[in-house]
């Protein structure tokens, strides 16, 4: 074998291992430890050990409850609309055959734009005076609306997230469909299976693995959502009703300077993410049986 000299292994791996340990693993462990302290400033001085008190506080914090509820509602929106529309678009694009490259290029484009820019763009759309939405209403002679009021705000925060990422899941699903061997379709065609039946009994079952990947990415992605809601509705505007786990964590740490409690929320986000991913994996696997 040519790869016998093992000394070089450690030289080549060293930078990666050092960086990932120092900036991902150690900080994560430190966050777990910090969640057991009361830390009143970002310099980390005056730490006081308070055991699981932060976790107890989390159970009674009304804003955490709002954030959890909002995060789960947004998760449902994104699962249904992001993945749903992506699958429909992918099936349609696959069925027409032509112009696939064009649709792929166009649909994927929002994914590469920064969420901050998209957030700003949607602020302009929602604006009461000049907003795209109200001007469309005006064209139809309707009264302008306040788009970011308490009732609609969460939906209006989910809309840009969904709009931006449909293209991402569209491309993944389309690739999954393209990987299905053509002869399966051909034989189905000979058996007289066409149209909707073909989709229901052949295409969808065969891209189950891809759909599972999409679901896990969507769900963990929603847990991490920060840029867009923070740009459009900073500090849970209006009235702390639109906080998500990510934005509330940021506010707790950087604006309220409650570092220990913020770490508790961070640990909670990771735990929820792992638990939901495991559940999704189990659910979809069971159906395969």
């Amino acid at each position: 074998m040519i790869y016998k000299d093992k000394k070089i292994v450690w030289i080549f791996l060293l930078p990666t291992v050092v960086l990932v340990s120092l900036f991902l693993y150690l900080p994560f462990l430190a966050s777990i430890s910090n969640s057991l302290y009361n830390i009143p400033n970002l310099a980390g001085t005056n730490k006081v050990f308070i055991g699981i008190n932060n976790y107890k506080e989390m159970l009674t914090d009304p804003v955490i409850m709002t954030s959890v509820k909002n995060t789960f509602v947004m998760m449902i929106y994104t699962v249904v609309f992001e993945v749903g529309i992506a699958i429909v678009l992918a099936l349609l694009v696959d069925s027409v055959g032509k112009m696939q490259k064009f649709y792929r290029t166009v649909y994927f484009f929002p994914v590469v734009i920064s969420a901050t820019a998209i957030g700003l763009m949607f602020i302009l759309f929602y604006d009461y005076n000049i907003g795209l939405f109200n001007q469309v209403l005006a064209k139809f002679g309707a009264e302008p609306k306040l788009w970011l009021d308490e009732k609609k705000a969460l939906g209006m925060l989910s809309l840009p997230v969904i709009w931006q990422y449909i293209g991402f899941y569209f491309v993944i699903v389309l690739t999954g469909i393209a990987a299905i061997p053509e002869d399966i379709y051909e034989s189905a065609y000979l058996e007289g299976v066409t149209g909707f039946q073909k989709v229901r009994y052949i295409t969808l079952p065969l891209i189950k693995g891809v759909i599972r990947t999409c679901l896990i990415l969507v769900i963990t992605g929603t847990l991490k959502v920060f840029d867009l809601p923070w740009t459009i509705a900073p500090r849970g505007m209006p009235n702390q009703t639109t906080y998500l786990l990510g934005t509330y964590q940021y506010k707790t740490v950087y604006e309220a300077a409650r570092v220990g409690y913020g770490s508790t929320i961070a640990v909670f986000i990771v735990v929820v993410g792992v638990v939901i991913s495991v559940i999704v994996n189990k659910l979809i696997k069971q159906e395969d049986m």
Binding site: I2, F23, L24, Y107, V112, M121, D183, A188
Partner: protein, 295 residues
Amino acid sequence: MDAIVKKYKINGKAARPINTKITPSKVIIHAILGCWSLLTIFPLIWVVNNSFKERTLILQDSFSLVNPTNFTMDNYITAFSRMNIGGAYVNSLIISCSVVIGVMCFGGLGAYVLARYKFPGRNFIYGALISAVLFPAFATIVPVFMALYKLDLVNKHLGVILPQLAGNLPFAIIILVGFMEAIPLELEEAAVVEGCNPLQIFTKIIVPISKPSFATVAIFTFLWSYNDLFMQMTIIRKNEYLPISALLNKISSQYGTDYGLMNASVALVIIPVLIVYLVLQKYIIKGLTAGAVKG
């Protein structure tokens, strides 16, 4: 149905007969897909169009197309003079290019070793690197910030570069190892006969062959670093060091009602990305699907 699926899976591939006839159903489908394309593109056109208008004109009618009589560059001039957009571009480029170069060098060397050498602890290290993709920035940011603060790296480019470098390495390793493992060994064996050392094999054989996957890694790392508001906002608070996304966020909170400036700022952030995307989209979509479907 399962029986058919199984039976035909073993057989060789047959080309699907592509129906070139124009049928009514196809027209409808193209119409739906076309509408969605419009929904994707129109908002961007609206923003760019309005960025060339006076504030009052936007208020009157934001749909009218700009024409030579009402065309103005004022919004862009304001953006550059008042908001230091130019400086923010430079900051972003320094940070993102450093991150890309670092990820390519370190990730490339690491992936090469992981793809080619068998050594004790290899699976453990590989597994640990892959699982690091799962850590959200929230879970690591506070201790990272404290450490950077002690090292006096807060409000410095390097303070953003290091954590972004670490955050992008796991993704790079996944993509690069996947690609390098598939390269046949013959070339490297020939190189050894010629007297090449491992570093030479890496630079002369592995890197040139893996170019497409390096391209994917470079593009995604660049985009994520350029677009990453959370890290930029947390580590850099001084105006003169703000990268573009963080500056944009500031503009929206300070000049939220200056609609022309807002439109111009959004356009300024999107345009470089649009150019990168159109030039390199082949690598972007290919690399993404290779990584996503596999992982």
